[in-house]
């Protein structure tokens, strides 16, 4: 009968209208400014730099200014200048640090390639999206002071990923310590042997300078 399809269609809209009062499948509105969206853990917006110590963010940046992200960034929105001196990083090793690290968020396409190529787990993706502004130049060019966020923040936004990264870094650090310890022990043993050797076999050993 002509009109049956129409009536059936009206039935669907009526079902949706009534359903929007009781069925969460049909009423999907999020009252945004009052209710914040539940962002999934994987959500990414713009990059930030991880620091080990929230009290001294500039001193404990994981970034060593290797400039890999700058080269790999597809839209070329990262600018890094290496420091001329070295500073101890969180584990006390002397490292170059970024004297300038800027990200132009007016260009960034949130592609996460900087995160994927970073060998030091120093750059990660942030989840802040409420960044509308009236100033295009200064407000959207993030300096390293604005980019630096503590590791605890990283753990709070990407807990699974951060736990994995922390575990890996701890293992690396432990391995490095053991290596250093072994190297120190070997060095000490060698020095001991060397100290013992000249006394006994001094004539046989050629002078080191020769």
């Amino acid at each position: 009968m002509l009109g049956t399809g129409l009536l059936k269609g009206l039935g669907v809209t009526a079902k949706n209208f009534v359903g929007s009062y009781h069925d969460p499948e049909r009423y999907t509105t999020i009252e945004y400014p009052e209710v914040k969206p539940k962002l999934p853990e994987a959500y990414r917006n713009f990059p930030f730099l991880v620091t080990e110590n929230a009290m001294d963010p500039m001193g404990t940046l994981r970034c060593v200014a290797c400039q890999i992200c700058e080269k790999e960034c597809p839209p070329q929105c990262i600018y890094i200048e290496k420091s001329k001196d070295k500073k101890p990083d969180a584990s006390g090793k002397m490292q170059i640090y970024p004297a300038i690290f800027d990200i132009d968020t007016s260009v960034c396409m949130s592609c996460q390639i900087c995160v994927e190529v970073c060998p030091f787990d120093a750059i990660k993706m942030d989840q802040v999206f409420e960044i509308a502004t009236t100033d295009r130049y200064d407000a959207l060019l993030l300096r390293r002071e604005q980019l630096a966020k503590p590791n605890s923040y990283y753990q709070s936004i990407h807990p699974t990923e951060a736990a994995e990264v922390d575990g890996r870094l701890a293992a690396d650090r432990k391995a490095a310590e053991e290596k250093a310890k072994a190297a120190a022990a070997a060095k000490a043993a060698a020095a001991k042997a060397a100290a013992a050797a000249p006394a006994a076999e001094a004539p046989k050993t050629p002078p080191p300078a020769a």
Binding site: G9, A42, E72, P74
Partner: protein, 390 residues
């Protein structure tokens, strides 16, 4: 008329070179629709010559979203172009990613682990659901059912986008696939979410079809409008649902059987008339087949690595050569043609855009129809300007 004696240069009905200077027609009116027009799906422009309401001539004008994807890709690394492919057809980033990954894998001979192939199939089919649902919504918007179908389509789209976001981190620009696999392994929870979506989607489709398919107004509005002959469709390079709506059985998932599509049991729906209604119905039926593929893929997805362990992320330099890789995207055959000279950047990077080529026959479909029909014919082609103009 067979395909063999078809000559587009001969003046005949449906040809783009037909002159419309007929003293009986009186004054013709030339209307420029677009680039700002509510029904052109973005910044597409058509210069339409009208006799009263009848379309006598229709010239598409492109380039209002020509953002130089190919030139930029030739100046970045192979990996760096992956996020740009998201922005080609911005409704279906996953299939764009896959087409590009397949082209690069052909170029470099990179194998892909089995689990990644399954994940790619799952994501591509979810993308097909997403694209076809939105297309149906937009098409109905063009027909004049303002609001309701599009609103329902976007409600379902949000559910799919939530899935994409929880997997890849972004709603639209997933940048998920890599040469030799995928970026992250979907968790068991994610796969459960995908199963739930698949199970519920059939119900949504039933409801959507009750609303639209049998509706007398829509049938009167779309049946017999913008018919396309299979001969012309083949000769003009039309692919995807538009080609199958004319009755040509050509689906790259069956023909090329790329990925692991040969393992799934699904049918290729075919149309009979090639009109707007058929193009709408083909998409609805394809969604039903996609659900079938999804159910099979989600039930049989194997465990294993998601990335080939030998795949390189940085410093990827394929040897000199060239390759053309293509897949069946939701809009048609999306292909990438890559020429490598051994450097980290492709020497030539070319996107074969499905909707751009499908627009070749827009004039042929619109001639003799009314201007209001031209709007829904364009809607049924399913264009996304990011891909048309690149």
């Amino acid at each position: 008329m067979s395909a063999n004696d078809f000559s587009p240069l001969a003046p005949q009905a449906g040809s783009h070179v037909r002159e419309v200077h007929d003293p009986l027609h009186g004054e013709l009116l030339e209307v420029s629709m677009g680039p700002h027009h509510p029904s052109t799906h973005g910044v597409f422009r058509m210069i339409v010559t009208l006799d009263g309401e009848r379309v006598m001539k229709l010239k598409p004008v492109f380039g209002y979203l020509h953002r130089n994807h190919e030139k930029i890709a030739e100046n970045t690394t192979y990996l760096g172009s992956m996020p740009y492919t998201d922005r080609l057809d911005y409704l279906c980033s996953m299939t764009n990613n896959w087409a590009y990954a397949i082209a690069v894998e052909k170029l470099s001979g990179q194998p892909v682990p089995e689990r990644a192939e399954y994940v790619r199939v799952i994501l591509a089919e979810i993308t097909r659901l997403l694209n076809h649902t939105c297309l149906a919504g937009f098409l109905m918007q063009d027909c004049g059912c303002s609001g309701t179908p599009l609103m329902y389509a976007f409600r379902e789209r949000e559910k799919i986008l939530d899935l994409f976001e929880s997997l890849s981190g972004s709603r639209m620009m997933c940048n998920y696939q890599r040469f030799g696999g995928c970026r992250v392994d979907p968790s068991a929870d994610w796969l459960d979410g995908a199963r739930k979506l698949t199970d519920n989607y059939g119900r949504f489709l039933d409801e959507f079809e009750t609303l639209l398919t049998g509706n007398e107004i829509i049938m009167a509005r779309t049946q017999g409008v913008g018919a396309l002959s299979p001969e012309l469709a083949i000769n003009a390079g039309v692919t995807g649902p538009m080609l199958r709506a004319t009755g040509v059985n050509y689906d790259l998932r069956k023909v090329d059987a790329y990925g692991v599509y040969s393992r799934f049991d699904f049918r290729v729906p075919l149309g009979a008339h090639g009109d707007v209604y058929d193009r709408y119905m083909i998409r609805v039926l394809e969604m039903r087949e996609s659900i079938k593929i999804l159910q099979q893929a989600l039930a049989t997805i194997p465990a294993g690595p998601i990335m080939d362990p030998k795949a390189k992320l940085r410093g990827f330099r394929p040897k000199a050569g060239e390759a053309y890789g293509r897949i069946e995207g939701p809009k048609g055959e999306i292909g990438f043609y890559l020429v490598s000279d051994g450097s980290p950047n492709p020497y030539r990077y070319r996107v074969r855009p499905p909707s751009f080529v499908n627009l070749t026959v827009l004039e042929d479909m619109c001639l003799g129809q009314t201007i209001a029909d031209a709007v829904i014919i364009l809607g049924s082609v399913d264009i996304v300007l990011g891909e048309v103009d690149r």
